[in-house]
Amino acid sequence: MRRLETDPWQPATPVQTRTHPEPMPTPAALRRKILLVDDSATIHMWIRMILNRSDYDVVSARDGHEGVELALAEAPDLILMDVMMPRIGGFEACRRLRGHARTRTTPILMVTTRAEARNVEFGYLNGCSDYITKPIDGLELLAKVRSFLGE
């Protein structure tokens, strides 16, 4: 009897399952919440459009002081924080958030034009988790957000 070299019931190459690029809308209760702290209206509009498209809830604060208060009240899953802001800057806000049990482990991504090594180091010393530099690349932002949210 002639034997088949390959099993006819198995595909020639493994079938690759593809996830749909735009997942179905998530119920509001299950959406991850992201706090955006920035004094720039342009950044708010741009980041909101990126994150809302990917089904995240975005809460906004216009400066570091408001950002700390909102973070403690809303307990977001992740915080995007500008560096240069009125009242309290991003590094100081980050340091204060690390002092509260509720936000001690919340990922904080600094959004900044400053990517020089000393600023990065200073940010990490104050408890930030990572950096995103301006001009913001939408795909890079989404990739970092998803990575820190464990998605």
Binding site: P8, I43, M49, I50, T133
Partner: protein, 212 residues
């Protein structure tokens, strides 16, 4: 003839060796057909993924342009309009050192907004080189790359501000953020948007401020 018990035919009897071979051949042919279909489906999936990437990139560009246009349009007074223009230049274009100059045609231009430069020493601009050309032609200009290594003081991009048929000013960029490594399709479209929208947005904001 002795029949093999393992090769049972449809009627319970054994198929002759020729019939078994026919069935195997048919299975082989079916396997080849299915594999071809799978390959075609995988190729189509690859094409769709590539198309999706292109559309996603285009969508991102359009979203950023929408943000820039909205930011300029929403300003209700001159300071807000200049702040919005500055934010667009930093946050979307990635400019680090730039000045927005306005003035009458043929005269020295006055600095109305800036970032990263000494405002006093750049308070007035006597158009020359690429800035003068941008004012004359109404077309934006940029160097080959955001960091062309020009001598200090040489602009790397000039974006004229058009209002109708006249040019009312120019945005001169002396440097971009170090992480901006190249000009992309978005930059060209953003510069074109600024050429046509920034001037009218500033004028509209001033008129609105004067009226209210």
């Amino acid at each position: 003839m002795k029949r093999s018990p393992s090769i049972a035919g449809p009627a319970g009897g054994a198929d002759p060796p020729g019939a078994v071979r026919d069935r195997l051949d048919r299975c082989q042919a079916e396997l080849v057909r299915v594999r071809r279909s799978l390959e075609a489906a995988e190729a189509a999936a690859g094409r769709l993924a590539a198309e999706h990437a292109v559309l996603d990139e285009r969508c991102t560009v359009l979203t950023r342009l929408f943000v820039a246009a909205s930011a300029l349009q929403e300003a209700g007074d001159e300071p807000s309009a200049l702040r919005a223009l500055g934010e667009v230049m930093v946050n979307l274009a990635g400019a680090r050192e730039f000045g927005v100059f306005e003035g009458e045609e043929g005269a020295e231009l006055e600095l109305v907004h800036s970032a990263g430069i000494d405002a006093q020493s750049h308070a007035r601009l006597r158009p020359a080189g690429e800035a003068a050309r941008a004012l004359e032609t109404g077309e934006s200009w940029r160097a080959d790359s955001p960091h062309p290594g020009f001598p200090g003081g040489e602009p790397v991009a000039c974006i004229p501000l058009r209002v109708g048929a006249s040019v009312t000013g120019v945005i001169v960029v002396w440097s971009f953020l170090p992480q901006k490594l190249a000009f992309g399709a978005f930059d060209l479209e953003l510069f074109a948007l600024l050429v046509n929208r920034a001037g009218p947005a500033l004028r509209a904001a001033r008129l609105l401020e004067a009226c209210t």
